[in-house]
Amino acid sequence: MSSSQPVSGDPPPDASPWHVSRRTFLVVTGVAAGGVAVGLAVVDAAAPDAGTVARVALAVNGEPVVVEVDSRTSLLDLLREHLELPGTKKGCDAGACGACTVHVDGRRVLSCLTLAVRLEGADVVTIEGLAPAGGALHPLQAAFIEQDALQCGYCTPGQIMSGVGCIQERHTGSAEEIREWMSGNLCRCGCYVKIVRAVEQAAGEV
């Protein structure tokens, strides 16, 4: 996500009965410090019709954002539908497939089961934030390519975020242990053998 881009600017273009709600982009400020751009984006991610709206300040991939969020919005939908970070995938929306795995405060969590309003002060890292854009890949991302641990790629962001968690948790003592601790992430293409190899490889490098 880039702080220099309006996250959502979508004023109603006409007065038709179909006009879209205001999802008004409120503030963007950029402060360059030591060559690192720090942005504060304030986004109204809630429709005016929402029953309960809360303002939440959190960090996503290192950038602070403040969102006005519908209390029903999951972190997954916040990322995908409001912050334009579609790298995190919706597979079941019920906490059973792992495709939506992200890191919250350093732990792997299922973003579909995490309500965005809970995240005041949280530090969220998604697949888009795991490595700098265009820069060197995280060792596990590189290992996924090297081992061909993916096919359709849809579960891959969740597998990688979960795999990074698995490595950080030191659940990589054996292939069997990795299989057990990666079994919350479904892969219908059936890349499990290679996913385990990729996690093993990256665990040795991290």
Binding site: W18, A47, E81, G91, T126, D148, P157, R188, Y192, K194
Partner: protein, 740 residues
């Protein structure tokens, strides 16, 4: 592996190169249908959520949308009472893969044909509001009696039949006769990406960002539904998050999204929920497969009767191809009937290894039962029934290296260390068994077309309207392109976009399609700036030589007799003042090749069955495949692992369960419908026997994606029998079926 007879060096094909879209996929940058948005120029998108029927068969008597419409943010609710009538032109095969029958239409009548059928759609400004609104829609029904049980259903229409010899006489005179009925549960594809579509109208022109295995199908079906020219529909499908067959057709939800978008005059995004996928996008139908088998004492199968019943919907007839039992063994007397039983269910569709994997379960378990009955090794029994030519047609096989598959597999798996007595091998509390099964899958060839362009900088771009559901199509296409143009294979910026146009080829679907009339847009690129070999002299005017004598290596063109003189593609084009060269090539398979063409598998599995709990775990599995030329062994391994792991699910876990009282699927989620997970998959290995198939197609490929699941379920089932001595004739094999 033998190479083609081309003079050109073949270096890219066969190399285990990394997939060109790997970086996109590991960084979250690959954009699946529902990922598109403002960055793709889609502004003002609104969200649609389907309302499903909560009854299995009924007439809708009323739809109360007031509560939903009063919800702030709800833009519209559409149902059969207020939706516009759509022209719905016929759209039969080959423009679609719609099966015979009358397809399900978007809110065009008051009929409920199955539990979960879309009966309304709520469009709102946010996903949360649309979901809330969908819950507020009240639909009233006049209920009718529902029938969803295959066992209790009556076949509709005449069965498909096949026969050779006199099967009844053959069975009567057989020294050994066996009769078994096998049952398979309904399976759902459950690709990780839910079906999703974004539909946007600009005047009478429709653009869809759609999940599809065949980009022409949404265009053709949406054009037919809305009565507009095919040219007015543009379908964009960049990457597909798995499909396994259920992305072949364009389902009714896509028409609903387009209908809603036209009415609200906004781009509409519709993402199906996991639950909706169970009644919305097809499945592998449940089957009953009865086998009567006659053999002599030496194991020569003389007669085999197959009587098959499969489920379909009441509005369409989906039939899988059950030809395996006709061609795998040399049996002189064969009879087959395949009946479809119409039920109050949504229409099934092809799912990985369609028909062939189901038939392999019945046929290969019955062969295992015969081997046990006769006291003959299961592999030896197959060898005694191995045909020299196709017993169904009399045609020679293009290539059939099944004997090699058996021999290599037996050696690598350690088959000879097996104690043939069932229930005789233990490891603590676990009963250990090994099983074997063979398989085949028809090699399908279709008309294909591709556009190739050589740019002045030496880059080759190849475009064709295929989609990549995971096999690595862009990668293998670029490897083929690199060798065809004798360019160095370099994964350049992987431009990868699939747009609507005629389909070039897919091995995934049977049948033939018409050739494309225009360049298609799936791209594979390879780079070859061309490099003059050290010490070589420039200056050959290669273009003046007879093309057949020009050899190109690493983008360096020379005459075969004088490799030192030559030039690069950029030099050649620069000399001729050309910015690029382009060509459209097409391929049309011969109507009658005179050969029978199949891929083959030999699957070996070892299972451990908990003696007290009945829990089956696969310990290791080996697949040996005769699939023709392997373009990329790394990608092939991924395909093969995936097929075999899918087979673990088919054998031991996957079963869609319907409550026949009301037609509701009771396990329409990942908590109740079990898929294999990492912990279910310890050790899977694939081996490919050498050899391209020159009859199959110009690149010698027979097809791998389907054959890799064919034979897996029976190999596991046979291993369970070997471990326990109990023959379970129903999939999936659950702990309860082994207890008591």
């Amino acid at each position: 592996m033998t190479r083609s007879q081309s003079m050109q060096p073949q270096s890219a094909v066969g190399a285990p190169v990394a997939r060109v879209d790997g970086r996109l996929k590991v960084t979250g940058s690959a954009r699946y249908a529902a990922d598109h948005g403002p960055a793709d120029g889609i502004e003002g998108v609104v969200h649609a959520v389907l309302v499903e029927a909560t009854i299995g068969r009924a007439r809708i008597t009323g739809v109360d949308t007031r509560a939903a419409e009063e919800l702030p943010g709800v833009l519209a609710v559409f149902h059969h009472g207020n939706a516009p009538r759509l022209p719905y032109r016929d759209n039969p095969f080959p423009d679609s893969i719609n099966p015979p029958g009358e397809r399900l239409r978007a809110f065009q009548d008051d009929r409920v044909r199955f539990f979960g059928q879309p009966v309304a759609v709520v469009v709102a400004t946010t996903p949360e509001t649309a979901r809330h609104g969908a819950r507020l829609v009240e639909v009233r029904y006049a209920a009718e009696r529902v029938g969803t049980d295959l066992a209790a259903g009556t076949p509709g229409g005449e069965p498909e039949t096949y026969g050779r010899g006199d099967v009844e006489a053959g069975l009567r005179s057989a020294e050994v006769r066996l009769e078994m009925t096998y049952r398979t549960g309904r399976n759902h594809h459950n690709a990780m990406e839910p079906h999703a579509i974004i539909a946007r109208w600009e005047g009478d022109r429709l653009t869809v960002w759609e999940k599809t295995q065949w980009v022409a199908d949404p265009r053709n079906e949406l054009a037919a539904a809305f009565g507009i020219p095919q040219e007015s529909v543009r379908c964009l499908s960049t990457v597909v998050g798995g499909a396994f067959g259920n992305g072949g057709r364009t389902w009714v939800h896509s028409v609903i999204a387009a209908l809603a978008a036209r009415e609200v005059r906004r781009p509409v995004k519709l993402v199906m929920t996991r639950k909706q996928l169970y009644s919305g996008v097809g499945y592998r139908p449940a089957y009953e497969y009865a086998v009567r088998l006659g053999s002599d004492r030496s194991g020569r199968v003389t007669a085999m009767a197959h009587d098959v019943r499969g489920e379909t919907s009441r509005y369409e007839s989906h039939a899988d191809d059950m030809a395996l039992g006709r061609m795998l063994y040399t049996t002189p007397h064969v009879a087959q009937t395949v009946s479809l039983v119409p039920l109050d269910v949504n229409t099934p569709t092809w799912m990985r290894g369609p028909g062939w994997s189901t038939a392999a379960y019945a046929l290969e378990c019955s062969m295992d039962e015969l081997a046990h009955e006769l006291g003959i090794d299961p592999i030896e029994l197959r060898l005694r029934n191995e045909p020299e030519s196709d017993p169904a047609t009399g045609s020679p096989f293009s290539t059939r290296r099944l004997r090699d598959c058996y021999a290599i597999g037996a050696r690598e798996f350690g088959w000879d260390r097996r104690n043939p007595t069932p229930g005789a091998t233990r490891d603590g509390d676990r009963l250990i068994g090994t099983g074997f099964a063979a398989g085949a899958y028809a090699t399908e060839r279709m008309n294909a077309q591709a556009y190739a362009r050589l740019d002045a900088d030496g880059r080759v771009v190849v475009q064709s309207a295929t989609s990549d559901i995971g096999p690595g199509t862009a990668t293998s296409m670029s490897q083929v392109a690199a060798d065809a143009s004798a360019c160095r294979w370099t994964p350049c910026a992987s431009t990868w976009a699939t747009r609507c146009c005629r389909p070039p080829r897919s091995r995934r679907w049977p049948g033939r399609w018409r050739a494309s009339a225009r360049p298609c847009r799936t791209r594979a690129t390879c780079c070859a700036p061309g490099r003059r070999p050290r010490g070589h002299r420039p200056g050959l005017t290669a273009s003046r030589r007879r093309p057949g004598r020009v050899v190109v290596r690493d983008g360096w063109l020379s005459v075969g007799t004088d490799p030192g003189r030559g030039e690069t593609y950029p030099q050649l084009m620069g000399r001729n003042n050309r910015s690029h060269l382009e060509v459209i090539g097409s391929y049309e398979p011969p109507e009658e090749s005179g050969f029978s063409m199949y891929s083959y598998s030999a699957i070996f599995a070892e299972v451990a069955v908990d003696a007290r709990l009945g829990l089956v775990r696969v310990r290791r599995m080996l697949g040996v495949f005769d699939a023709g030329r392997i373009i990329n062994p790394t990608l092939a391994d991924s395909q093969a692992h995936g097929g075999m792991i899918g087979g673990i699910g088919q054998a031991l876990l996957e079963h869609t369960i319907t409550d026949h009282r009301d037609g509701r699927i009771v396990n329409a989620d990942f908590a109740g419908y079990l898929l294999p997970v990492s912990a279910d998959v310890p050790d899977v290995r694939a081996i490919y026997v050498d050899g391209e198939d020159r009859e199959a197609d110009p690149i010698g490929v027979k097809g791998l994606g389907e054959i890799v699941i064919v034979g897996v379920a029976p190999a596991i089932a046979n291993a369970v029998f070997h471990a326990t001595g109990r023959r379970v004739r129903e999939l999936p094999i659950t702990p309860e079926s082994l207890l008591g």
